[in-house]
Amino acid sequence: MRVLWFGRWLRAGAAAMVPAGPPRAAAELLAHLERLALVDFRDAEGVERLQKAIQFADRLQEVNTDGVEPMDSVLEDRCLYLREDNVTEGNCTKELLKNAREKVEEYFVAPPGNIPLPKLDEQETFLQGS
């Protein structure tokens, strides 16, 4: 729901990047979305692309879907294939580890926990700067 509101906000300020609503809240939503999706909207081009994408997708709202069950896949009438419970894969440690940049004794190596993104105040947000 907040994304829809954000979309309206973006559409409202179509040409110029001057927001109609409170810039702080929009910046927070943007930062939240970035954190979730690990996507960087950090420049004007990024935000404009996002805005255009929302406008493009909004055209779906023109279709009247009252009383129609949502479809989530064209496979919905297909049969879900059930596999027999046999061991047929695995035992390819060496091959899998070939992809790893770092490894320790056949373990993949990852950074400790999730690296937190810099906090909102510490960032130079594009929106704040404009």
């Binding site: 894969e89 695995g90 373990y107 400790p112």
Partner: protein, 495 residues
């Protein structure tokens, strides 16, 4: 204050291969050796559902009185963590495989196991989902080591409604679920091996007021810790609120060493999982006797009614049967089922002895079980086999030894030196004195030596007779039959 406890239980499905891939499911194996390309999330791989996992979930749903959804859907739950290579977990968020069930469990009102009360907790739903891999945190080198052997193993998540109110209830409910899963074979449910993981949702509120903010408690590794963690969290919340503080809707970890819950790092704020339908899996359709499709291969059809007909006896049914067949008390049946292998042991002893089951159960629960507990042994590790115990009980039943002597023999048998009960009896001269004359003589000696007691008995105080019987027992080193001794004493005293 009214505490409210709900549980989310993840049970690893007992199957040969994983939920969506053909790699093996095994507890301890070389790191990353049980991982397929799909489990490692390599691009271009697709999930293929394991039929056995579906059957396990249906069995569990039926055993918990759920409605099985003939059409259920798979979804993706997104979050980032090193042991979740795809960045999402395939689960069933919208329409799970089973909903609206119930679980009945029993609690002892007091510690002596003499009064049991039955409680019910509602099961909100059961869903199929993937397990994640394992992270080993290396704080020294500031890195995490990831083993994906567990990634993709099938899980049944059982969600219990917040119908419980304390640690004891939570532990009892989980114990009963564990026994049910083990009876069904759908999960081995051993908490120590991570096959059964429990997260508790705890909140408190005043009666009549709306529910309080709840916290989620994770990292609970045993039933005992579950009870402790829940009770600690309830106390913590009450104290916090009574001191004017507030409860944060957070996730906390249970620290078993300190016996308390602490906030977990990496779980700041509410997570947004961005659920979306799993595009690579069509809906899961289950059938029953009425809706069986005519032209489908047998192997592709999961028939709910067929599974229902083949469900094994659930623990509650087994207990009722034990009570009916052997005339033991319901509390006894609970203890029998609670210890792995104890029911079998008990039934084996009953088969091999003439002693009535109602008497045998006393020896099993009081003597055998307490010894095993004292020495932290399982029934399988018992130095006294059912054969030996039955042998001993036969001697007792045939009145060749007294109950006191039997206990002495049992103490010897625990040493596991391979001697039979009969050998020990002969060795320690524990046989009951069968010679009536000898007994009469001893009785006479005791009577002669205790004039005051004799006078008291003749005056009408029958209870003092027990003291004389005890004295005879002492003289004979426990080798006299108390019933016979009583008869002899009474005969002498009435002369």
């Amino acid at each position: 204050w009214v505490p409210v406890v709900g549980l989310e239980i993840h049970a690893q499905i007992s199957s040969n291969s994983k939920l969506f891939s053909g790699s093996q499911v095994q507890f301890a194996a070389p790191p990353n050796s049980l991982v397929s390309f799909f489990d490692a999330s390599l691009p271009g791989t697709l999930p293929v559902l394991n039929r056995r996992c579906v059957e396990a979930a249906v069995m569990t749903g039926l055993a918990l009185n759920c409605r099985i959804n003939k059409k259920s859907l798979f979804d993706r739950k997104h979050y980032f963590y090193a042991d979740l290579p795809a960045g999402y977990q395939i689960t069933q968020q919208r329409v799970p495989i089973a909903v609206n069930g119930s679980l009945s469990y029993s609690l002892c009102i007091d510690n002596k196991m003499s009064q049991m009360v039955t409680k019910t907790v509602r099961i909100k739903q059961i869903q199929l989902e993937q397990d994640s891999g394992k992270s080993l945190h290396d704080d020294i080198r500031s890195q995490t080591l990831v083993d994906l052997n567990r990634a993709g193993v099938g899980l049944m998540e059982v969600v219990m409604e917040p119908d419980m109110c304390c640690g004891e209830e939570a532990a009892a409910a989980v114990r009963e679920l564990q026994l049910i899963l083990q009876a069904l074979g759908s999960s081995q449910a051993v908490m120590a091996e991570g096959q059964l993981r429990v997260d508790a949702n705890v909140s408190v509120h005043h009666p009549g007021e709306p529910y309080g903010v709840r916290t989620e408690v994770k990292n609970i590794n045993s039933l005992r810790f579950l009870a402790k963690a829940v009770d600690y969290e309830i106390q913590r919340q009450i104290e916090e609120l009574e001191n004017g503080g507030t409860i944060l809707n957070e996730t906390r970890a249970f620290d078993s060493k300190l016996g308390c819950t602490v906030p977990m790092r990496d779980k700041e704020g509410k997570q947004d999982y961005r659920f979306m339908p799993e595009p690579n899996l069509p809906p899961l359709i289950l059938y029953d006797a009425k809706s069986l499709p005519a032209n489908m291969s047998h192997q592709q059809v999961v028939n709910i009614d067929w599974i229902h007909e083949r469900l094994p006896d659930l623990p509650s049914v087994k207990r009722a049967k034990l009570v009916e067949q052997y005339g033991i008390l319901p509390e006894h049946s609970f203890t029998l089922l609670n210890e792995d292998g104890l029911t079998e042991f008990f039934e084996n002893v009953v088969k091999q002895t003439q002693m009535k089951p109602r008497k045998v159960i006393g020896w099993i629960l009081n003597d055998l079980l307490s010894y095993l507990k004292q020495h932290s042994l399982t029934v399988k590790e018992s130095p006294v086999s059912s054969f030996l115990l039955a042998d001993l009980l036969n001697l007792l039943e045939k009145k060749e030894i007294s109950a006191a002597a039997a206990k002495q023999v049992l103490a010897e048998l625990w040493k596991g030196e391979g001697k039979t009960p009969l050998e020990i009896v002969k060795e320690k001269k524990l046989e009951l004195i069968q010679d009536q004359k000898e007994l009469e003589q001893i009785c006479q000696v005791v009577i002669d030596g205790h004039e005051n007691e004799v006078m008291a008995i003749k005056a009408g105080n029958r209870k003092v007779l027990n003291k004389l019987i005890g004295l005879v027992q002492r003289e004979t080193h426990g080798r006299s039959n108390p019933v016979l001794v009583k008869q002899l004493l009474e005969k002498k005293l009435s002369e």
